[in-house]
Each structure stands twice: as structure tokens, then as C-alpha cells.
């Protein structure tokens, strides 16, 4: 596996140099956004932060306020991305994000948007909330906390060497589509059905 270090925001050229199977270590500022945020953006509503060129992270972190009044991320693994499939392509196109981080992969619409607009899907290891929280060095801010509640808010996170695997690239390849297809074939063998 190739290991590539990237600092957000990233350019379209950098995105297009990535391939499925590349392991990336992200540094810089990324933004959490899950169900409520995607629906909100899809409906064309504005948000108070500029996410262009950055990454949106499907994550509802556990965040607490320290006695000094600072936000502190206690757990920050990815949530299942497929729920954002109806919205993601539009969010990629309209808001110019260069990377979507999540888990479980995404479908054909997102794959096409990645290809058309220069974006990648980065798969973080699901459940690895502590490994990923360790890479969060600072909470820069939070938006939509009142409206959406803590897990659904937009947390602006400064990360160093956040690890993820490219599973959908900007060239039309998807590890998820490949694995779905090979496992479907094998399933047909073991259950004896003709597919």
C-alpha cells in the first residue's frame, strides 16, 4: 500500500493523483457533517463555515468541555456513509469538497460525482474512535450545535496524520463495488443459486 501525506485544503490535482488502495494521512482542518448537515446542505441552506477544498467527515463525535472551557474530543470514529448517498453528490458539486470521509462506502451517484468534480472517498476504520480522536489536536469551533445537537453538529477539527484508505477515487474505481461483486459471486456458489 502506498502511504500519502496530504494537508487540507487540497487541490483537484492532488485528488486526481489518488487511487483506490492508497493509504492517506490527512493533516489540517476538516469538518464533521452527518445526516442533518447533509440534508441541510442538500436543501441549499447555508452554513457559517467555508468547507471548499476541505473534507467532510461523517462523524458524530463525543465532545466534552474541559474545566478550562475548551472543547475536547473524546471519541471520533466514522459513521455509516450510505445514509448520505441521496445527498452526497450534490454536496460535492455545490460546496466544492475534495474528500468525503466515512465508513462502509458509498454508491454509484457519489462515485460519479467524485469522478465529475474531483473528489475522493476516504474510508476510516469504523469503531476506531480512539485512534482517530488521537489525531485531533484541536477543536477550532462548532456550528449548528443548537439546531442539530452534538453528534449532528459541524465540528471544525484540526487533525494531524488522520489515517484513512482511498476506497473510491476520482477515476471511477470503487473498492466497495469490487468487493460487492466478488462476494456476490461467492455467495451464489455457497448457497447454490444461479446468479
Amino acid at each position: 500500500m502506498r502511504e500519502i501525506k496530504l494537508t487540507l485544503p487540497i487541490t483537484e490535482e492532488q485528488v486526481r493523483s489518488l487511487n483506490v488502495g492508497d493509504m492517506v494521512l490527512l493533516s489540517g482542518v476538516l469538518y464533521t457533517g452527518r445526516d442533518a448537515v447533509h440534508k441541510h446542505l442538500y436543501e441549499g441552506k447555508s452554513i457559517p463555515v467555508d468547507i471548499r477544498g476541505s473534507a467532510i467527515y461523517h462523524c458524530g463525535p463525543v465532545v466534552v468541555k474541559t474545566p478550562e472551557g475548551e472543547w475536547s474530543v473524546r471519541a471520533a470514529g466514522p459513521t455509516t456513509s450510505s445514509r448520505e448517498e441521496p445527498y452526497q453528490a450534490t454536496v460535492i458539486e455545490k460546496y466544492g469538497i475534495r474528500a468525503v470521509i466515512g465508513k462502509g462506502g458509498m454508491g454509484a451517484k457519489t462515485l460519479k460525482a467524485c469522478q465529475d468534480f474531483g473528489c475522493v472517498y476516504l474510508h476510516a476504520v469504523g469503531g476506531a474512535a480512539q485512534v482517530l480522536a488521537e489525531t485531533v489536536k484541536k477543536v477550532r469551533g462548532v456550528s449548528m450545535l443548537e439546531e442539530f445537537g452534538s453528534p449532528e453538529a459541524i465540528w471544525e477539527l484540526e487533525v494531524v496524520d488522520f489515517p484513512a484508505l482511498v476506497t473510491i477515487d476520482a477515476h471511477g474505481s470503487s473498492l466497495h463495488a469490487d468487493i460487492a461483486s466478488s462476494s456476490e459471486q461467492r455467495l451464489a456458489e455457497v448457497i447454490g443459486s444461479k446468479k
Binding site: A76, T79, T80, G126, A129, A133, G149, S150, I179
Partner: protein
């Protein structure tokens, strides 16, 4: 202090002075469950890591998983940010006051949420508002049983939403899969559930499968199967054989850790059967992620811990 944008909709019940020990014990149970995987699950994870080929994405995922388990335990923070459905399985002495126990349990859940061992995970299904303290209609879930012992047996499983979403229920016969009303039909639909889940349930996973029952008893019993240890062999040899076969065939699908491809798609399979109606033949499949948070303890009726069950 937790990140609480709105006042909780339901305030935690007060803890009676007689129950302060039980309250503390329950908070400790939640902390340990959320931050420290039991040894049997850790062993399965280590075995799975050894089975992945070096330099592959599957091996990479297993390494991250293993490191995550160690960090979470070391810093006493939630292993996974999705602290999931809070499922208590409680056995109480005959005649024990379960109403007060439930209230103390709710107070403990709210406290553990405030301390950051549980995420704010209870959302009003109509308004979308998060209750902020994990309390609300249906949360947490407490399954009570009585037993002829003076002790409390309190077990807890935390089951994340990602794996809950890939659970499935089949009604046999299933013509799409060529699955009839027999154990081979059960095998087929369970393998289909694993295929459908792909990497979305945070595999390698553990399945709880119930054959029979009705739509609700099948699913609720399938969750109870997660109280069995990984190494436990099914006491019914027919089901033990089925578990082994499903495990081996599911792993041959090549979905692998996180759906990255690889040799371990499942860590384990637990099957049980309930009687059914002549007209119904359900197979209920609950999928538990690798972050298999399960712990339990035996305590005196005042709440003093006697022993941990999964240590």
C-alpha cells in the same frame, strides 16, 4: 460537563439513599463496558489479525482495530463514539423492587453520559431533538428476569447503530434465495444477510441468529445471544455445526475487515431456536460490530460488586 445544547427532556430520577451503591456500580459497569472489550473478544480480534495477509488493507484495518482497543482501555474513553443502544439484561432476586432499580439505572445512564462514557444517543423520532442524557421513551432498554438467588446479575451490551442497521429478518421459505423451512434454508438467508451487510456493520462482526419465534421475540432473543462468550460451544450439536458452517462460509465471501477484502468477515456466530407458529418461520439476524462491548457483574442486593462476569 457534556455538550448539551438543550435542557434534557427527562430529568434523571433521584437516587434514594438506599441505592447509592447500586448507582455507583451501574456507572462503573457502563464505564468498563464502553471502554474495555472483554478478553474473549480481544482474543478473537488477535486471531483475526494473524489471519490477514501482510501489507493488505484487511491487515491494516485489523491493526487499527487492535490499537484502538488498547488505547480506549488505557485512557478509559469510549472505544467507539457510537455508544449505541444501551441494553441491560438484569436478573434480580424474587420479590426485588425492579421499579426503583429501573430509576437508578436511568440515573446511572444520565451520569455516564455526563461523564462522556456514553454519547448523547437518544433522539425524539418525531421532532429529531436529542434528549441530551440518553433518557426517553424506550431508552435505555432493560430486560428483567427473576432468579432464585440473593444476588443481582447485571449485564450490559452497547450496540452501535451501524451494525444495528444491517440486522435482517427473513421469512421462510424465501424463493429469491432458494431457502426452505429447514436448517439449510436458515444457512442461506444468514449468509445473504452477511453479504448484504458488506462492510457497513463494522466487520468483522458477530452474529446473533434466532430461528423461529415471532418478529419481536426473534430479534430480542438474538441480542441476548451476545451474552454468550466467543469460545462457548452451542449445547445443541445441530446448531453448533450450523454455526461453524456459517462462520466458515461467511469468511469465504472475502468481504473482510471493514469490507476492505480479506479472510475474516465474521468473528463468530451464535444461533438459538425458539418455537414458532405453524404458519411462521422467521430467521432474525442481529449483527454486532467488532467493537463488541459486553460486560456484566454479580453484586449483592445492595450493589456491592462480587465478581465481574467477562474477565
Amino acid at each position: 460537563m457534556a455538550t448539551n445544547p438543550k435542557a434534557p427532556l427527562k430529568t434523571p430520577p433521584p437516587v434514594p439513599a438506599t441505592h447509592t451503591k447500586i448507582f455507583e456500580t451501574l456507572v462503573e459497569l457502563i464505564r468498563v463496558t464502553s471502554t474495555n472489550l472483554p478478553p474473549d473478544v480481544r482474543n478473537s480480534v488477535t486471531t483475526a489479525l494473524e489471519k490477514e495477509k501482510s501489507g493488505t488493507a484487511g491487515e491494516y484495518a485489523m491493526k487499527v482495530i487492535q490499537r484502538n482497543i488498547d488505547i480506549a482501555c488505557g485512557v478509559s474513553q469510549p472505544l467507539c463514539q457510537d455508544t449505541g443502544s444501551i441494553l441491560f439484561f438484569v436478573k434480580t432476586p424474587v420479590g426485588y423492587d425492579q421499579i426503583t432499580f429501573s430509576e437508578v439505572c436511568e440515573a446511572a445512564v444520565a451520569k455516564a453520559t455526563e461523564l462522556g462514557y456514553l454519547r448523547q444517543n437518544s433522539v425524539d423520532s418525531i421532532t429529531g431533538q436529542n434528549s441530551g442524557n440518553n433518557l426517553g421513551p424506550g431508552t435505555p432498554t432493560i430486560y428483567f428476569e427473576q432468579h432464585r438467588s440473593e444476588d443481582l446479575d447485571i449485564r450490559l451490551a452497547l450496540k452501535g447503530g451501524g451494525c444495528e442497521n444491517v440486522g435482517a429478518q427473513y421469512s421462510l421459505p424465501d424463493s429469491r434465495l432458494g431457502a426452505g423451512r429447514d436448517l439449510d434454508g436458515v444457512r442461506k438467508v444468514v449468509l445473504d444477510a452477511v453479504y448484504q451487510a458488506q462492510g457497513k456493520g463494522c466487520g468483522p462482526g458477530i452474529l446473533g441468529v434466532v430461528i423461529g419465534g415471532d418478529r419481536s421475540t426473534g430479534f430480542s432473543y438474538s441480542k441476548k445471544l451476545f451474552l454468550r462468550t466467543m469460545e462457548e460451544t452451542n449445547s445443541d450439536p445441530r446448531l453448533a455445526e450450523l454455526e461453524q458452517r456459517i462462520l466458515q462460509e461467511a469468511n469465504s465471501l472475502g468481504i473482510g475487515p471493514m469490507g476492505f477484502g480479506g479472510n475474516t468477515t465474521l468473528l463468530g456466530v451464535k444461533v438459538a431456536a425458539l418455537n414458532r407458529l405453524p404458519a411462521s418461520f422467521f430467521v432474525s439476524v442481529s449483527y454486532m460490530c467488532w467493537a463488541f462491548r459486553r460486560q456484566g457483574l454479580k453484586a449483592n442486593s445492595d450493589g456491592t460488586i462480587k465478581e465481574w462476569i467477562y474477565k
